[in-house]
Amino acid sequence: MWGRSPILRGLATIILFLTLEVVSILFIANDSVFQRVKISGALMYFKSGISSATSDVRYYFGLREKNEVLINENQRLREQLSLYKAKAEMGDTLEGFLSVTPDFTYIPAKIISNSTNKLNNYIIINRGRKHGIQKDMGVISPEGVVGVVSSVSDNYSYIISFLNINQSVSARIEPSGAFGPLVWEGRSSDYATLTEVPYHIRVSIGDTVFTSGFSTLYPPDVPLGTIRRSSVIMGSYHNFQVKLFQNFNSLRYVSVVVNNKQNELNQFLKENEAKR
């Protein structure tokens, strides 16, 4: 009977189609489950082999080691800098001087897989839980923001790239101090849009955009880009097109931001919430 009647066969086809389509859409909705599958397991070895083979072609071999040295040095310097900043804020008391920990520390990592040609781009790096990376940590490079850690396995981390239409970074324009969310609109990997800046604020073309430091993900004052063009939305807001300093195509080394005050801050927020 099954397969003979054309109506039943058509019905079976439609049911199969709908089932598979619903399964696909469920997959899309629950992507975070698969991110974990993608970075754990044997496939990563195969994958990291392939992608390093293809991307190594673009790099000179001698520059590689030099880069590594520079990365480590940069990291050390950045940690020292944030330590000194914190010390300066604490003033001259000896107590404060001894007990200070830097606000942010950095874990250097190498990109294994990266894409810039989709609307939802992801990055995989070669550092994971073993190295102290946790979910929801920010990732930066010397030239700007890279993304947010989305899931972690023992040796690898899956990062939602800034080049993802669902991502935004809290940004600040330098001389005027105005701030707003910087989002990527999916057009070009070189440009992003700074939205919702109040109309009365005066900004000139070429002003530099930095991270605001309002979120716990990224340290403040990471340079992001320069303003290139502005447009007025509904007569009340400026939208600025920002040329990013970051070139995501040639991005190779990144630093994962560890916010040492995160737990304290979360606890503080929770306490205040409880009081209310």
């Binding site: 696909s24 997959f27 894409s115 810039t116 992801y122 057009r187």
Partner: protein
């Protein structure tokens, strides 16, 4: 049995071509590479639609997994394409073509017909792909340039891949 072997070979070949091209070709987000639909176009006519759907689903998921995109994105688009493939083929081909169990490729259809066939199915695929990507119609107008560029480039790429890999073998 021989036919099924051929299907497997073209499955693996196109998966590899897709992985390599989407890894190497990068013109920014305005262009997404989709060559794997060629596999679904060229599944033999007379393949039951159910089997077509399963192949399309498998191909879509494999591409999603290996090219590091959101799981389910390519599979949902290629399912719609697979469902409509027999109808489009009927519309494009001559009557006699349907009776043989042929692979609807460049050698069998000829340049003009194959290009038309590929173009129509790719358009369907790309529309559903971009809908699944932004989950709805909201970005549809905004995505139009991306859609046009991708359809044009992918049609060309598919013609090239079909010509270079399968045309001579099948003739």
């Amino acid at each position: 049995m021989k036919l099924r072997g051929n299907i497997l070979i073209s499955f693996v070949t196109l998966l590899l071509v897709q992985i390599m091209l989407s890894g190497l070709v990068d013109f920014g987000p305005l262009l997404f590479i989709a060559v794997y639909p060629l596999f679904i176009f060229t599944l033999p006519i007379n393949t039951p639609v159910n089997r077509l759907l399963l192949w399309a689903f498998a191909m879509g998921l494999a591409v999603d997994y290996f090219t590091n995109s959101i799981m389910g994105l390519n599979s949902s688009a290629s399912l719609v394409m697979a469902l409509l493939q027999p109808q489009i083929f009927k519309a494009v081909s001559r009557k006699g073509d349907l009776e043989n169990q042929i692979r609807p490729g460049l050698a069998q259809l000829g340049y003009a017909k194959f290009a038309l066939y590929a173009l129509i199915l790719l358009t369907i695929h790309h529309i559903f792909f971009s809908m699944a990507e932004s989950l709805g119609f909201t970005h549809f107008i905004y995505n139009l340039p991306r859609l046009f560029v991708s359809i044009a480039v992918n049609t060309l790429l598919i013609m090239l891949v079909e010509y270079s890999l399968f045309y001579k073998l099948m003739r």
